[in-house]
Symmetry: D2
Subunit: 106 residues, 4 copies
Protein backbone atom coordinates (compact mmCIF):
# COMPACT_ATOMS: atom_id res chain seq x y z
CA UNK A 1 0.00 0.00 0.00
CA UNK A 2 1.42 3.39 -0.89
CA UNK A 3 1.91 6.24 1.57
CA UNK A 4 -1.07 8.21 0.27
CA UNK A 5 -3.51 5.34 0.75
CA UNK A 6 -2.07 4.57 4.18
CA UNK A 7 -2.54 8.20 5.20
CA UNK A 8 -6.09 8.22 3.92
CA UNK A 9 -6.91 5.21 6.13
CA UNK A 10 -5.21 6.82 9.14
CA UNK A 11 -7.11 10.07 8.63
CA UNK A 12 -10.40 8.19 8.25
CA UNK A 13 -9.82 6.58 11.65
CA UNK A 14 -8.60 9.66 13.46
CA UNK A 15 -11.33 11.95 12.04
CA UNK A 16 -13.91 9.59 13.55
CA UNK A 17 -12.02 9.11 16.82
CA UNK A 18 -12.13 5.38 16.22
CA UNK A 19 -8.67 4.52 17.49
CA UNK A 20 -10.29 3.81 20.87
CA UNK A 21 -12.08 0.79 19.33
CA UNK A 22 -9.02 -0.52 17.53
CA UNK A 23 -7.52 -2.80 20.15
CA UNK A 24 -5.40 -5.54 18.56
CA UNK A 25 -8.02 -8.12 19.59
CA UNK A 26 -10.90 -6.14 18.06
CA UNK A 27 -8.92 -5.74 14.84
CA UNK A 28 -8.17 -9.48 14.76
CA UNK A 29 -11.91 -10.15 15.07
CA UNK A 30 -12.58 -7.59 12.33
CA UNK A 31 -10.08 -9.19 9.94
CA UNK A 32 -11.76 -12.57 10.47
CA UNK A 33 -15.25 -11.11 10.03
CA UNK A 34 -14.32 -9.40 6.76
CA UNK A 35 -12.42 -12.49 5.57
CA UNK A 36 -15.66 -14.39 5.98
CA UNK A 37 -17.67 -11.82 4.05
CA UNK A 38 -15.10 -12.44 1.33
CA UNK A 39 -15.53 -16.19 1.73
CA UNK A 40 -19.30 -15.75 1.40
CA UNK A 41 -18.72 -14.68 -2.22
CA UNK A 42 -17.67 -18.30 -2.84
CA UNK A 43 -20.06 -20.06 -0.45
CA UNK A 44 -22.13 -22.17 -2.86
CA UNK A 45 -20.45 -21.68 -6.21
CA UNK A 46 -16.71 -21.29 -6.44
CA UNK A 47 -16.66 -20.37 -10.09
CA UNK A 48 -19.36 -17.75 -10.43
CA UNK A 49 -18.72 -14.89 -8.09
CA UNK A 50 -19.58 -11.23 -7.96
CA UNK A 51 -16.22 -9.60 -8.66
CA UNK A 52 -17.41 -6.22 -7.33
CA UNK A 53 -18.30 -7.82 -4.00
CA UNK A 54 -14.94 -9.65 -3.94
CA UNK A 55 -13.09 -6.36 -4.48
CA UNK A 56 -14.96 -4.66 -1.65
CA UNK A 57 -14.51 -7.47 0.86
CA UNK A 58 -10.84 -7.98 0.03
CA UNK A 59 -10.36 -4.22 0.46
CA UNK A 60 -12.01 -4.44 3.88
CA UNK A 61 -9.57 -7.16 4.93
CA UNK A 62 -6.64 -5.04 3.73
CA UNK A 63 -7.85 -1.93 5.54
CA UNK A 64 -8.16 -3.76 8.86
CA UNK A 65 -4.73 -5.33 8.31
CA UNK A 66 -3.37 -1.81 7.84
CA UNK A 67 -5.13 -0.69 11.03
CA UNK A 68 -3.46 -3.54 12.88
CA UNK A 69 -0.01 -2.81 11.46
CA UNK A 70 -0.46 0.80 12.59
CA UNK A 71 -1.81 -0.14 16.02
CA UNK A 72 1.14 -2.42 16.74
CA UNK A 73 3.72 -0.21 15.04
CA UNK A 74 4.65 -2.95 12.60
CA UNK A 75 6.25 -2.58 9.19
CA UNK A 76 4.48 -4.57 6.50
CA UNK A 77 7.63 -5.29 4.43
CA UNK A 78 9.47 -6.43 7.52
CA UNK A 79 6.90 -8.90 8.83
CA UNK A 80 6.07 -10.27 5.37
CA UNK A 81 9.73 -10.80 4.49
CA UNK A 82 10.43 -12.42 7.86
CA UNK A 83 7.55 -14.83 7.19
CA UNK A 84 8.73 -15.48 3.64
CA UNK A 85 12.14 -16.45 5.09
CA UNK A 86 10.36 -19.08 7.16
CA UNK A 87 8.13 -20.23 4.31
CA UNK A 88 11.10 -20.72 2.01
CA UNK A 89 12.75 -22.93 4.64
CA UNK A 90 9.57 -24.87 5.48
CA UNK A 91 8.68 -25.49 1.85
CA UNK A 92 11.89 -26.29 -0.08
CA UNK A 93 11.24 -26.20 -3.84
CA UNK A 94 12.40 -29.76 -4.42
CA UNK A 95 9.97 -31.15 -1.85
CA UNK A 96 7.00 -28.83 -2.26
CA UNK A 97 6.84 -28.42 -6.02
CA UNK A 98 3.36 -29.14 -7.31
CA UNK A 99 2.10 -30.36 -3.93
CA UNK A 100 -0.45 -28.72 -1.66
CA UNK A 101 0.64 -30.69 1.41
CA UNK A 102 1.34 -28.90 4.67
CA UNK A 103 5.04 -28.72 5.53
CA UNK A 104 4.77 -31.37 8.24
CA UNK A 105 3.40 -33.83 5.67
CA UNK A 106 6.05 -33.24 2.99
CA UNK B 1 3.67 -3.83 -0.20
CA UNK B 2 6.62 -2.79 -2.30
CA UNK B 3 7.51 -4.27 -5.67
CA UNK B 4 10.39 -6.32 -4.32
CA UNK B 5 8.26 -8.05 -1.67
CA UNK B 6 5.49 -8.65 -4.20
CA UNK B 7 7.97 -10.25 -6.59
CA UNK B 8 9.35 -12.44 -3.84
CA UNK B 9 5.84 -13.77 -3.12
CA UNK B 10 5.18 -14.35 -6.82
CA UNK B 11 8.47 -16.20 -7.25
CA UNK B 12 7.77 -18.32 -4.17
CA UNK B 13 4.48 -19.42 -5.74
CA UNK B 14 5.78 -20.00 -9.25
CA UNK B 15 8.92 -21.86 -8.11
CA UNK B 16 6.65 -24.37 -6.35
CA UNK B 17 4.11 -24.53 -9.18
CA UNK B 18 1.41 -23.60 -6.68
CA UNK B 19 -0.62 -21.33 -8.92
CA UNK B 20 -2.75 -24.38 -9.77
CA UNK B 21 -4.02 -24.44 -6.15
CA UNK B 22 -4.68 -20.70 -5.98
CA UNK B 23 -8.26 -20.52 -7.17
CA UNK B 24 -9.99 -17.41 -5.84
CA UNK B 25 -12.17 -19.64 -3.62
CA UNK B 26 -9.17 -21.50 -2.17
CA UNK B 27 -7.46 -18.19 -1.46
CA UNK B 28 -10.59 -16.85 0.25
CA UNK B 29 -10.59 -19.95 2.48
CA UNK B 30 -6.89 -19.45 3.16
CA UNK B 31 -7.35 -15.80 4.17
CA UNK B 32 -10.07 -16.84 6.62
CA UNK B 33 -7.98 -19.72 8.00
CA UNK B 34 -4.97 -17.46 8.60
CA UNK B 35 -7.18 -14.70 10.01
CA UNK B 36 -8.35 -17.22 12.58
CA UNK B 37 -4.81 -18.25 13.47
CA UNK B 38 -4.31 -14.55 14.12
CA UNK B 39 -7.51 -14.43 16.18
CA UNK B 40 -6.25 -17.40 18.19
CA UNK B 41 -3.50 -15.13 19.57
CA UNK B 42 -6.31 -13.27 21.37
CA UNK B 43 -8.60 -16.22 22.16
CA UNK B 44 -8.60 -16.19 25.97
CA UNK B 45 -6.69 -13.05 26.88
CA UNK B 46 -6.96 -9.97 24.76
CA UNK B 47 -4.21 -8.08 26.52
CA UNK B 48 -1.38 -10.56 26.79
CA UNK B 49 -0.46 -11.86 23.37
CA UNK B 50 2.62 -13.30 21.75
CA UNK B 51 3.69 -10.48 19.44
CA UNK B 52 5.93 -12.80 17.40
CA UNK B 53 2.96 -15.06 16.68
CA UNK B 54 0.82 -12.03 15.81
CA UNK B 55 3.43 -10.82 13.32
CA UNK B 56 3.61 -14.21 11.62
CA UNK B 57 -0.13 -14.72 11.35
CA UNK B 58 -0.78 -11.19 10.14
CA UNK B 59 1.95 -11.71 7.54
CA UNK B 60 0.20 -14.92 6.41
CA UNK B 61 -3.05 -13.00 5.91
CA UNK B 62 -1.21 -10.34 3.90
CA UNK B 63 0.56 -12.90 1.70
CA UNK B 64 -2.70 -14.64 0.79
CA UNK B 65 -4.33 -11.25 0.11
CA UNK B 66 -1.45 -10.53 -2.27
CA UNK B 67 -1.97 -13.94 -3.93
CA UNK B 68 -5.63 -13.06 -4.44
CA UNK B 69 -4.90 -9.60 -5.84
CA UNK B 70 -2.51 -11.27 -8.30
CA UNK B 71 -4.89 -14.08 -9.20
CA UNK B 72 -7.70 -11.65 -10.00
CA UNK B 73 -5.46 -9.02 -11.57
CA UNK B 74 -6.51 -6.41 -9.03
CA UNK B 75 -4.65 -3.30 -7.99
CA UNK B 76 -4.45 -2.90 -4.22
CA UNK B 77 -4.50 0.93 -4.26
CA UNK B 78 -7.49 0.95 -6.58
CA UNK B 79 -9.71 -1.42 -4.62
CA UNK B 80 -8.77 0.06 -1.25
CA UNK B 81 -9.40 3.63 -2.42
CA UNK B 82 -12.71 2.63 -4.02
CA UNK B 83 -13.76 1.10 -0.68
CA UNK B 84 -12.56 4.16 1.24
CA UNK B 85 -14.78 6.31 -1.02
CA UNK B 86 -17.72 4.21 0.12
CA UNK B 87 -16.67 4.17 3.78
CA UNK B 88 -16.37 7.95 3.85
CA UNK B 89 -19.92 8.24 2.51
CA UNK B 90 -21.37 5.57 4.79
CA UNK B 91 -19.71 6.95 7.90
CA UNK B 92 -19.89 10.76 7.79
CA UNK B 93 -17.65 12.29 10.47
CA UNK B 94 -20.43 14.23 12.16
CA UNK B 95 -22.52 11.08 12.64
CA UNK B 96 -19.87 8.45 13.25
CA UNK B 97 -17.45 10.32 15.48
CA UNK B 98 -16.66 8.31 18.60
CA UNK B 99 -19.29 5.66 17.84
CA UNK B 100 -18.71 2.02 16.92
CA UNK B 101 -22.21 1.59 15.46
CA UNK B 102 -22.68 0.05 12.04
CA UNK B 103 -23.67 2.57 9.37
CA UNK B 104 -27.27 1.34 9.26
CA UNK B 105 -27.62 2.10 12.99
CA UNK B 106 -26.16 5.62 12.87
CA UNK C 1 -26.74 -33.62 22.13
CA UNK C 2 -28.06 -35.90 24.86
CA UNK C 3 -28.05 -35.08 28.54
CA UNK C 4 -25.11 -37.38 29.30
CA UNK C 5 -22.84 -35.76 26.74
CA UNK C 6 -23.90 -32.29 27.85
CA UNK C 7 -23.08 -33.17 31.46
CA UNK C 8 -19.70 -34.53 30.44
CA UNK C 9 -18.85 -31.21 28.76
CA UNK C 10 -20.06 -29.24 31.77
CA UNK C 11 -18.01 -31.39 34.16
CA UNK C 12 -14.94 -31.03 31.93
CA UNK C 13 -15.23 -27.25 32.19
CA UNK C 14 -16.02 -27.07 35.90
CA UNK C 15 -13.31 -29.59 36.90
CA UNK C 16 -10.75 -27.31 35.25
CA UNK C 17 -12.28 -24.10 36.59
CA UNK C 18 -12.51 -22.82 33.03
CA UNK C 19 -15.86 -21.09 33.29
CA UNK C 20 -13.92 -17.90 34.07
CA UNK C 21 -12.53 -17.92 30.48
CA UNK C 22 -15.87 -18.65 28.84
CA UNK C 23 -17.19 -15.18 28.26
CA UNK C 24 -19.67 -15.11 25.38
CA UNK C 25 -17.14 -13.14 23.31
CA UNK C 26 -14.34 -15.64 23.97
CA UNK C 27 -16.64 -18.50 23.04
CA UNK C 28 -17.65 -16.73 19.82
CA UNK C 29 -13.95 -16.41 18.95
CA UNK C 30 -13.43 -20.06 19.81
CA UNK C 31 -16.30 -21.21 17.59
CA UNK C 32 -14.81 -19.24 14.69
CA UNK C 33 -11.29 -20.58 15.35
CA UNK C 34 -12.49 -24.19 15.42
CA UNK C 35 -14.73 -23.63 12.38
CA UNK C 36 -11.60 -22.57 10.52
CA UNK C 37 -9.66 -25.63 11.63
CA UNK C 38 -12.56 -27.55 10.11
CA UNK C 39 -12.35 -25.42 6.96
CA UNK C 40 -8.63 -26.18 6.76
CA UNK C 41 -9.55 -29.83 6.06
CA UNK C 42 -10.93 -28.56 2.72
CA UNK C 43 -8.39 -25.79 2.03
CA UNK C 44 -6.79 -27.03 -1.19
CA UNK C 45 -8.81 -30.07 -2.14
CA UNK C 46 -12.51 -30.20 -1.47
CA UNK C 47 -12.92 -33.85 -2.38
CA UNK C 48 -10.09 -35.58 -0.56
CA UNK C 49 -10.25 -34.85 3.10
CA UNK C 50 -9.13 -36.56 6.27
CA UNK C 51 -12.42 -37.72 7.76
CA UNK C 52 -10.86 -38.25 11.19
CA UNK C 53 -9.69 -34.63 11.26
CA UNK C 54 -13.13 -33.48 10.08
CA UNK C 55 -14.80 -35.39 12.92
CA UNK C 56 -12.50 -33.86 15.52
CA UNK C 57 -12.85 -30.30 14.30
CA UNK C 58 -16.62 -30.52 13.90
CA UNK C 59 -16.78 -31.90 17.44
CA UNK C 60 -14.75 -28.92 18.67
CA UNK C 61 -17.25 -26.53 17.06
CA UNK C 62 -20.13 -28.40 18.69
CA UNK C 63 -18.50 -28.40 22.13
CA UNK C 64 -17.94 -24.63 22.04
CA UNK C 65 -21.52 -24.12 20.82
CA UNK C 66 -22.68 -26.14 23.83
CA UNK C 67 -20.47 -24.00 26.11
CA UNK C 68 -22.12 -20.90 24.68
CA UNK C 69 -25.65 -22.25 25.05
CA UNK C 70 -24.82 -23.02 28.70
CA UNK C 71 -23.16 -19.67 29.32
CA UNK C 72 -26.13 -17.75 28.01
CA UNK C 73 -28.75 -20.11 29.46
CA UNK C 74 -30.14 -20.88 26.02
CA UNK C 75 -32.11 -23.92 24.93
CA UNK C 76 -30.81 -25.46 21.72
CA UNK C 77 -34.21 -26.71 20.48
CA UNK C 78 -35.76 -23.32 21.15
CA UNK C 79 -33.23 -21.18 19.31
CA UNK C 80 -32.91 -23.60 16.39
CA UNK C 81 -36.68 -23.87 15.95
CA UNK C 82 -37.09 -20.09 16.20
CA UNK C 83 -34.50 -19.73 13.43
CA UNK C 84 -36.13 -22.43 11.32
CA UNK C 85 -39.42 -20.48 11.59
CA UNK C 86 -37.60 -17.52 10.04
CA UNK C 87 -35.81 -19.63 7.43
CA UNK C 88 -39.05 -21.20 6.27
CA UNK C 89 -40.54 -17.73 5.78
CA UNK C 90 -37.46 -16.27 4.09
CA UNK C 91 -37.04 -19.21 1.74
CA UNK C 92 -40.48 -20.31 0.51
CA UNK C 93 -40.25 -23.67 -1.26
CA UNK C 94 -41.74 -22.41 -4.51
CA UNK C 95 -39.15 -19.64 -4.81
CA UNK C 96 -36.07 -21.31 -3.32
CA UNK C 97 -36.31 -24.80 -4.76
CA UNK C 98 -33.06 -25.82 -6.41
CA UNK C 99 -31.52 -22.35 -6.04
CA UNK C 100 -28.61 -21.33 -3.83
CA UNK C 101 -29.48 -17.63 -3.97
CA UNK C 102 -29.68 -15.58 -0.81
CA UNK C 103 -33.24 -14.68 0.20
CA UNK C 104 -32.86 -11.07 -0.87
CA UNK C 105 -31.97 -12.21 -4.39
CA UNK C 106 -34.87 -14.64 -4.81
CA UNK D 1 -30.73 -31.72 19.14
CA UNK D 2 -33.84 -33.87 19.39
CA UNK D 3 -35.22 -36.04 16.60
CA UNK D 4 -38.07 -33.66 15.80
CA UNK D 5 -35.76 -30.69 15.28
CA UNK D 6 -33.34 -32.79 13.24
CA UNK D 7 -36.19 -33.95 11.01
CA UNK D 8 -37.39 -30.40 10.55
CA UNK D 9 -33.93 -29.36 9.31
CA UNK D 10 -33.75 -32.36 6.99
CA UNK D 11 -37.20 -31.65 5.54
CA UNK D 12 -36.28 -27.97 5.06
CA UNK D 13 -33.29 -29.03 2.96
CA UNK D 14 -35.02 -31.76 0.96
CA UNK D 15 -38.15 -29.66 0.25
CA UNK D 16 -35.87 -27.07 -1.38
CA UNK D 17 -33.69 -29.62 -3.17
CA UNK D 18 -30.67 -28.07 -1.50
CA UNK D 19 -28.75 -31.25 -0.79
CA UNK D 20 -26.95 -30.68 -4.10
CA UNK D 21 -25.27 -27.56 -2.61
CA UNK D 22 -24.33 -29.24 0.66
CA UNK D 23 -20.91 -30.62 -0.15
CA UNK D 24 -18.81 -31.06 2.99
CA UNK D 25 -16.55 -28.21 1.82
CA UNK D 26 -19.48 -25.85 1.24
CA UNK D 27 -20.86 -26.68 4.67
CA UNK D 28 -17.47 -26.05 6.27
CA UNK D 29 -17.43 -22.61 4.61
CA UNK D 30 -20.98 -22.01 5.79
CA UNK D 31 -20.14 -22.90 9.40
CA UNK D 32 -17.23 -20.45 9.32
CA UNK D 33 -19.36 -17.72 7.71
CA UNK D 34 -22.11 -18.06 10.31
CA UNK D 35 -19.54 -18.30 13.14
CA UNK D 36 -18.27 -14.93 12.02
CA UNK D 37 -21.75 -13.42 11.94
CA UNK D 38 -21.91 -14.59 15.54
CA UNK D 39 -18.49 -13.06 16.23
CA UNK D 40 -19.71 -9.79 14.74
CA UNK D 41 -22.11 -9.49 17.69
CA UNK D 42 -18.99 -8.98 19.85
CA UNK D 43 -16.83 -7.04 17.36
CA UNK D 44 -16.39 -3.73 19.18
CA UNK D 45 -17.96 -4.30 22.57
CA UNK D 46 -17.72 -7.66 24.24
CA UNK D 47 -20.10 -6.83 27.05
CA UNK D 48 -23.05 -5.23 25.31
CA UNK D 49 -24.46 -7.52 22.69
CA UNK D 50 -27.79 -8.04 21.03
CA UNK D 51 -28.93 -11.34 22.55
CA UNK D 52 -31.55 -11.86 19.83
CA UNK D 53 -28.86 -11.61 17.16
CA UNK D 54 -26.61 -13.97 19.14
CA UNK D 55 -29.41 -16.54 19.33
CA UNK D 56 -30.03 -16.40 15.59
CA UNK D 57 -26.39 -16.65 14.58
CA UNK D 58 -25.63 -19.45 17.03
CA UNK D 59 -28.68 -21.29 15.66
CA UNK D 60 -27.31 -20.86 12.13
CA UNK D 61 -24.01 -22.43 13.17
CA UNK D 62 -25.87 -25.35 14.78
CA UNK D 63 -28.06 -25.91 11.71
CA UNK D 64 -25.07 -26.09 9.38
CA UNK D 65 -23.29 -28.42 11.83
CA UNK D 66 -26.36 -30.66 11.69
CA UNK D 67 -26.29 -30.51 7.87
CA UNK D 68 -22.66 -31.63 7.96
CA UNK D 69 -23.30 -34.46 10.40
CA UNK D 70 -26.08 -35.66 8.09
CA UNK D 71 -24.02 -35.26 4.93
CA UNK D 72 -21.16 -37.31 6.32
CA UNK D 73 -23.38 -39.80 8.16
CA UNK D 74 -21.85 -38.90 11.51
CA UNK D 75 -23.35 -39.35 14.94
CA UNK D 76 -23.08 -36.23 17.10
CA UNK D 77 -22.76 -38.11 20.42
CA UNK D 78 -20.08 -40.34 18.99
CA UNK D 79 -17.81 -37.65 17.58
CA UNK D 80 -18.24 -35.35 20.57
CA UNK D 81 -17.49 -38.11 23.06
CA UNK D 82 -14.47 -39.27 21.06
CA UNK D 83 -13.16 -35.68 21.16
CA UNK D 84 -13.89 -35.37 24.87
CA UNK D 85 -11.81 -38.53 25.43
CA UNK D 86 -8.91 -36.73 23.77
CA UNK D 87 -9.53 -33.45 25.58
CA UNK D 88 -9.55 -35.17 28.96
CA UNK D 89 -6.16 -36.72 28.16
CA UNK D 90 -4.66 -33.54 26.72
CA UNK D 91 -5.84 -31.37 29.58
CA UNK D 92 -5.39 -33.30 32.84
CA UNK D 93 -7.21 -31.54 35.70
CA UNK D 94 -4.10 -31.19 37.86
CA UNK D 95 -2.19 -29.41 35.09
CA UNK D 96 -4.96 -27.43 33.40
CA UNK D 97 -6.97 -26.20 36.37
CA UNK D 98 -7.52 -22.46 36.18
CA UNK D 99 -5.22 -22.03 33.19
CA UNK D 100 -6.15 -21.07 29.65
CA UNK D 101 -2.89 -22.37 28.17
CA UNK D 102 -2.93 -24.64 25.15
CA UNK D 103 -2.08 -28.26 25.97
CA UNK D 104 1.39 -28.01 24.42
CA UNK D 105 2.23 -25.14 26.80
CA UNK D 106 1.02 -26.82 29.98
Amino acid sequence: MNKETINRIRKFTSDRDWDQFHSPANLAKSISIEANELLECFQWDENNYDIEAVKEELADVLVYCRNMLDKLGLDEEEIVNAKMDKNETKYPVEKAKGKADKYNKL
